[in-house]
Amino acid sequence: DVKVTQSSRYLVKRTGEKVFLECVQDMDHENMFWYRQDPGLGLRLIYFSYDVKMKEKGDIPEGYSVSREKKERFSLILESASTNQTSMYLCASSRVLGGYTFGSGTRLTVV
């Protein structure tokens, strides 16, 4: 049926590790997004991409990078994981000015 797949539901990593979160969509959407969701802070945009190899910083890009080599795949990279990056990470895709389709989320714990 769908649609946006995040590679892991739960992930535990050590401080300082390089972490890759993968997201794949099968709807040929132009836009892809990475958010993190924390209690009391809502959804905060980390990075988004509106085309292959294109990326734009969101509201909280520090400590993260992204890669979009193919239209269907958008990867979030934590260069050196820290405990304050423990969070729920949500990937989404959309057509321009359309509704988002979200993945199921990855709950990342950094210890």
């Binding site: 809502g42 959804l43 057509r95 509704g99 988002y100 979200f102």
Partner: protein, 115 residues
């Protein structure tokens, strides 16, 4: 940054009752969207209302939009236990320089429907 703000933050009702939640926003928009999130899962798109529309229906959902007041409401009629979730409004700001459909989400309304 958050633009939409939902009210109330939490809502507890019984099955069969209607649930109403509101969203206020600050800047002009292309459209406003409502999403549902079940605990620990991703968000699910419910409905999109464009800035030139005033009301929209989808099943038991009714959304209104008042651009003069910069507000929207989501009504769930005849609620069920399965409607227990957090509900978020999201706005697509109207901007000359940023037209990539980058939504701004509110903090959400937590709805609990008891049998």
């Amino acid at each position: 940054s958050q633009q939409g703000e939902e009210d109330p933050q939490a809502l507890s009702i019984q099955e069969g009752e209607n649930a109403t939640m509101n969203c206020s926003y600050k800047t002009s928009i292309n459209n406003l969207q409502w999403y549902r999130q079940n605990s620990g899962r991703g968000l699910v798109h419910l409905i999109l209302i464009r800035s030139n529309e005033r009301e929209k229906h989808s099943g038991r959902l009714r959304v209104t939009l008042d651009t003069s007041k910069k507000s929207s409401s989501l009504l769930i009629t005849a609620s069920r236990a399965a409607d227990t979730a957090s509900y978020f409004c999201a706005t697509d700001p109207l901007s000359q320089t940023d037209s990539w459909g980058k939504l701004q989400f509110g903090a959400g309304t937590q709805v609990v429907v008891t049998p």
